[in-house]
Symmetry: C2
Subunit: 566 residues, 2 copies
């Protein structure tokens, strides 16, 4: 009995001031931080910001349209291009203005599409209820669940223990998913088109990717062109390559070929001809279904919560040198609001998008000396700089709202029929090429890549390790990460696909409890970057109970202006 | 009269000892040098030498076979693959053992093919005389003309004034010719094959080239693989890529496609069914035709002389740090001998091959400190090293006879029927890819490339120039070189094609007489590398007459063991 009462008093203590579950603690903090940063977010505007907006625009809208064509088929024409583009633009504009972390790009994600398609099948074939009102209620329920997560500081007791171990895996997973998407797109062309169309699709896809990669190295082309042109080519690499390969199929004999192109609609009205306006009369749903919708609402909440948090975490990893405070709780609350809004409008909701969010940060990255003075990006061997050859250069990201806002506004423009027709000129091969480029970009900055290479380096050429760390352990860690990634990827190919963020989450306690027993502390500090610098707190060791949580979360370490979780 | 006698005595003086035309002067010198170096040429053998042999083997035999298929059609089946491969192997083996400069790779060249085709047309359609005996006599005449050129030190009064100005142009010309060949090969596929075959040919060609380029950067892949594997991949880049893309067309649907492949013969006997053995009964030719053959003999002599000398010059430019003495006169005499031999065997004669000869040197290049100690090639930013960042590293070439001998021996092996069948598996698209790669390799080391880039560099970012040199002048020089190259390339597209080495030769007096009046001495010293280092003699200024030839030729400058022209 005594033990029981002690347990409940300890539980209640969490809700008191300063407790883990103290309502609104994080939200208040986030609101304060947001107020502090908001005005300054509109004072940074330059060429790189515009280039970033253009890049994110393409990497956001084009893949979105492919999900749209799947959705179109698998939701009985309830949703199509218009809905996806509209949602991406609307949620993007809202987040650009009101979010706490404007680096996190939003879009309609693949996992959500799969979830929606399953729900549609249940509604139409199983229970014979209208899909859109059920979806609307699911999203409305999801909204208040988001609010609860925000109010009770969910970020503190879940995501702040996400270390590089999980973030690297998630990042690699996204690379693999994008390479796989590219392969699937080309496989579809192979199956449905004559051989010559397929062979051209290969040229178009590989060409789009390689030209983008080539142009992205333009900063190293010295002495060709001036610095401004080199940087421009590099910053607009993907956009230039996409536009080039949209044009090429119109040349010569290629014009007579059969090219698969993006399927788009050509009017701004709901895809389903039975709908007149973007509004769902959700209150007309039978009341029992209003309650049943809590179940899909909960699944969507879990999916969105983890997806959005992980997107925000990966786009603010150390490599980007983010200085301004984000606001996880605030953004989850805002996400709940846009989710409900999308439900009522009868469009698919958008949330944090991978790998677009970190690619957004990547495209805004530059180098500064002494925090203030902007210097040109190192033109040669950028990676070397990063590893500390010039310790006076530190990476920074232009933390502002323009790039997010501009890409969202451009996407909004593309719901207009004439612009949709332009999008419809894009061959699916260009899309496959863009997928490859995104996979490549995401992979090329993943710290696992170097450690993967180290697996194939003869011992004599391996760099020296800190005391207490052995290459055997580092290799085992790398192999573990790769196997886990492959395992999760295998899951994404099954019907359990929408559950994969949960797998990522399971990695966190595994990392904190199990892996500490296999690898020594020095080894983990070396490979799991977030705790590897001097002066940082030790790993959070989840041994006894709640009290065992040593302050070691992501927010705490970064110091400076970032919110402290206490 | 006095003037006349003075002129003839001055002319005679040239033939006396120490005179420009003193018979056998250069030959004696070359023989001495050859004796000094010959044994040491067989003491250098390592992995890079083998890799170089494999690389040169592919870049020699595959393009040779394409000339063979043209020859086959245009010489009424007098010559085909067997003859070209046989000649390349035989002349290669002879030069590997007996030449003074074993870096100069030999093969059957395009210009000679054009010349032979014209001669065949005259013989068979015009004068109704047998082609092979006329060709045999032409080559026999050519032999003694070669001997005369060698005996009277022709190198001294022609080629030693070839500066980087001409060598760069010739090198660029070869890049353009190879890119053009690749384009023509693909154009032929486009015209003769269905669209799907053409689209695959594009993939095969670009793929072969890009994979070869990618692998050739393997030395910079650190930390992936050990240094040995990285170097191996880099050294065998072209070979690996060629073998890969020979295999790919057998995969999946591609196996059903129509692939253009190299046309080869499958027995070791003369291509023409009327010939039994590789021997021409040249003495049976009517005697008037024996004398008429002097005319084609002279044309062939001019072509071979300039082609071979320029090949030898370009494969021993400063960049390669060649230390051992060559022997231009000796090699011309040897070339005369192999030329006559080929004539009697009834096979096309081989001579110095561009760009294979300099690519041979390139593939043997490594870096040494203090002349002796071998160091690993700089793995990152090799070009930087070259420009003097580490002044203690100097480039060297493994000067030996194994790589030349091995590639020639391998080519000899490929006259055997089963090996010929293997060659016949090569798609023409792979050949086009190899042409592109050779063009790229040749272009990437051409000093004109950087100066071409400088044309597009804004003035503020241009590097500093030595005193007295202005960018205006440098740019004008670069543009002049490019225009001249384009002009000569245009000539190679006309019937005057075989005469193009003459155009290169005309550049020498133009460079020495005309250009000195347009550009200042400092500017020329800066852009025309051969006279740009301290301690080197000034440009040879051909102003008054023979006496005006200041010792400023290529051989003189290199000092050390190399032959002096006095």
């Amino acid at each position: 009995m005594a033990r029981q009462s002690s347990w409940s008093s300890r539980t209640l203590a969490h809700f008191r001031q300063g407790g883990k579950l103290e309502p609104f603690r994080l939200l208040r903090q986030d609101a304060r931080n947001l107020r502090r940063r908001w005005v300054s977010d509109w004072t940074v505007f330059n060429q790189l910001v515009v280039a970033s907006a253009v890049y994110v625009f393409f990497t956001n809208i084009l893949p979105g349209i492919t999900f749209a064509s799947d959705l179109y088929v698998l939701t009985g024409r309830s949703w199509g291009t218009v809905e996806v583009v509209f949602s991406t633009g609307l949620c993007g504009v809202i987040f650009a203005v009101f979010s706490a972390q404007p680096l996190t790009i939003l879009g309609v994600t693949g996992p959500f599409s799969v979830l929606a398609e399953n729900l549609y099948e249940l509604c139409s074939d199983g229970f014979k209820v209208p899909f859109l009102p059920v979806m609307a209620w699911s999203l409305i329920h999801s909204a208040w669940m988001h609010y609860l997560l925000a109010i009770f500081n969910a970020h503190d007791w879940t995501m702040q223990y996400v270390t590089d171990f999980s973030a690297d895996i998630f990042s690699l997973l996204n690379s693999i998913i994008y390479f796989h998407k590219a392969a699937m797109e080309l496989k579809r062309t192979h199956e449905q088109m004559p051989l010559d169309s397929f062979l051209y699709a290969m040229i178009g896809a590989v060409g789009t990717c390689l030209v983008a990669i080539l142009l992205s190295t333009a900063t190293k082309w010295k002495p060709l062109f001036g610095r401004v042109i080199r940087m421009g080519l590099s910053e607009y690499a993907a956009a230039i390559s996409i536009i080039l390969f949209i044009g090429i199929p119109y040349i010569g004999d290629l014009a007579d070929l059969d090219h698969g192109r993006l399927a788009v609609q050509t009017s701004f009205r709901p895809t389903n001809p039975e709908r007149e306006v973007f509004f769902v009369r959700f209150w007309e749903l039978p009341v029992e279904w209003v309650f049943i919708s809590i179940i899909p609402g909960a699944i969507i909440t879990i999916l969105f919560y983890f997806d959005h948090e992980i997107s925000s975490i990966i786009c603010t990893v150390d490599r980007y040198g983010v200085k301004k405070p984000g606001g996880y709780a605030w953004d989850i609350a805002l996400l709940g609001t846009t989710t409900a809004l999308c439900g009522i409008l009868g469009i698919p909701p958008a949330n944090g998008l991978l790998p677009q969010a970190p690619l957004h940060s990547e495209s805004l990255r530059h180098w500064v000396v002494d925090e203030d003075q902007v210097v040109p990006a190192p033109e040669e061997e950028e990676e070397e700089e990063e590893s500390g050859a010039h310790t006076n250069l530190v990476p920074r990201v232009y933390e502002q709202r323009y790039s997010h806002f501009l890409q969202a506004a451009m996407i909004m423009v593309f719901v207009n029929p004439p612009f949709q027709r332009v999008l419809g000129l894009t061959p699916t091969s260009v899309l496959a090429g863009l997928f490859m480029f995104m996979g490549y970009q995401s992979l090329s900055v993943n710290p696992m890549l170097t450690r993967f290479f180290h697996l194939f380096t003869p011992p004599s050429e391996l760099p020296e390790l800190p005391a207490g760390v052995r290459w055997g352990g580092v290799h085992a860690y790398t192999v573990t990460q790769i196997l886990v990634t492959v395992g999760i990827f295998a899951v994404t190919l099954t019907v359990a696909a929408p559950g994969f963020p949960l797998l990522i989450i399971i990695l966190v306690p595994v990392r904190l409890c199990v892996m500490n027993r296999v690898w020594g502390r020095e080894a983990l500090r070396f490979v799991d970057g977030w705790a590897c610098r001097e002066g940082k707190p030790e790993d959070g060791e989840m041994v006894g109970g709640d009290e065992g949580f040593v302050a070691g979360g992501r927010d705490v370490e970064d110091g400076g202006e970032r919110s402290k979780s206490q």
